[in-house]
Symmetry: D2
């Protein structure tokens, strides 16, 4: 299969929560990565995006799928500081690793810019070769996300010669 997919930009985070080691897309090769870009004061993230990736985190095997959150603050910067984020993650029982996207002044943070995201929530699927495969802004149905996840899981297994 000749790839026409670009490599996913690196995730540049100032700090990480819910993990002892900063996740690195290069080291996650072989597994799919589900990246949820969110803001803690974004209602659509709280109601849809974060519960959805928490379901993915709960349903899929860690060996197949790694769920990462990324706090991409592009507005109300003073309102969504790390200390607020920590309380938010605790109160909303978010258990997967969450990074803080590196700020650059009062605009979009670094990783959010590199992915050319338009807002939050944005859901990103990165395949086992580190390539950017899907990027959705807003609400995307579980049925579609589940199907795309399996597509990428099986593709990797196939490439690894695990199938047939």
């Amino acid at each position: 299969m000749t790839s026409t997919f670009k490599n996913a930009p690196a995730i540049i985070a100032e700090q990480w929560y819910n993990t002892h080691q900063a996740p690195d897309l290069n080291q996650l090769r072989g597994r799919m990565v589900v990246l949820e870009a969110f803001q803690m004061l974004c209602p659509g993230c709280v109601q849809h995006g974060l519960p959805q990736v928490q379901r993915i985190h709960d349903v899929f095997s860690r060996e197949d799928v790694m769920v990462l959150g990324l706090h991409t603050v592009f507005e109300h910067h003073a309102a969504m500081t790390p200390v607020s984020l920590v309380a938010f993650l605790q109160e909303y029982k978010v258990t997967f690793p969450v990074g803080v996207d590196k700020a650059q002044g009062v605009g979009m943070p670094v990783t959010m810019s590199a992915y050319r995201m338009q807002g939050t929530p944005t859901l990103v699927l990165i395949d086992g070769q580190g390539r950017l495969r899907n990027q959705w802004l807003g609400v995307v149905p579980d049925l579609i996300v589940g199907a795309e996840l399996m597509r990428l899981i099986l593709e990797r297994r196939h490439d690894n010669g695990e199938l047939r």
Copy 2:
């Protein structure tokens, strides 16, 4: 791949709605079949099962996935007759083909018995070779159904030499 899956039993229906031709699993080979066994007066079917397969019907390509409903009346037979079913399908805007499972007295109808279903709603996934692959009683998350659907779609494409 050596199959360890059994062939799905035939669907024996007294009549069909929302279709001009009675669907036949043998003729559907090459496509996946999603079979939703329901009763029109079963709250779990109305709230979860039927909306879920309607979403599948709306999201997936007809060339990949064929959604079939099966009215498997095993209680309150006099209450859920075909004339009532027709009104139900219209009021609830069900647009995929729905068959009426062939009755055998006051117990479980023929197809429901052949699949050894325990109640309604029951969701069944049949692969492109006509084999029974998944059967769930009750509520199953969209994330899981979406993933299993894609697994079977890709398996068929692979068997057909459409991949690689």
Copy 3:
């Protein structure tokens, strides 16, 4: 207070379920009556109307509020017969009294016509003097229904000299 409210038309039912005695608005004087006109195959009734009056039935004292259902079939008559209704009430765990509005051919049944209802679900509030006080077609918020119920309960208590 000079009444400008009309008496609620009599409820003419062919039969009643969930009660040993046919409710009679004249005999219910002194209590408020909440009348829910529904059809068992009407999605809005199943999703909103019936759960709402079941909540009213569960929350308010029987001495204050009497909840009555009325199966007002004005379409699909052959699909919503009494035998189907009985199974419906059982499966959906409806526990308040439900009458079958007296049919008149294939159009609107008798009580539905007398109240000049436009469709289902229709929620009707009848005060302790048997007067028609509110009639809503479609979804009406619990907050408003709760407020109107209390208004009528207190009005009756006041008229009875129970207050002050």
Copy 4:
């Protein structure tokens, strides 16, 4: 009617949003006050409490019912500062007046203590005479809140001689 209800403690706020003038229970006499004590990072407040009082704010007349929010931070103080609250109110489209309960160290703030609240969300109903009439911790159904609101509205109108 001999009152057995206590006066509602004063609301001691450090600052107010969505209003030009700090609300004062003494000046609100004659109207009911609905007080919603919440924390911006409390999931039950975001999902249930705040949407409920926003519905009250939208449904009832301002002449009958005044809705006030009170940010009663008793944990994660550094995470829920006024600057964060302002962004929260904007993002969640809260339009009624919201005060910041006066802090006293790292424990419960002043007003929350005076009302002896046990947590958030807490919903408080204060009658037109400034008396504390209902105080609920957690989720309380709209049907019950609507009924209690109308009870207090009518009681006031009656005391004012507006009825009969």
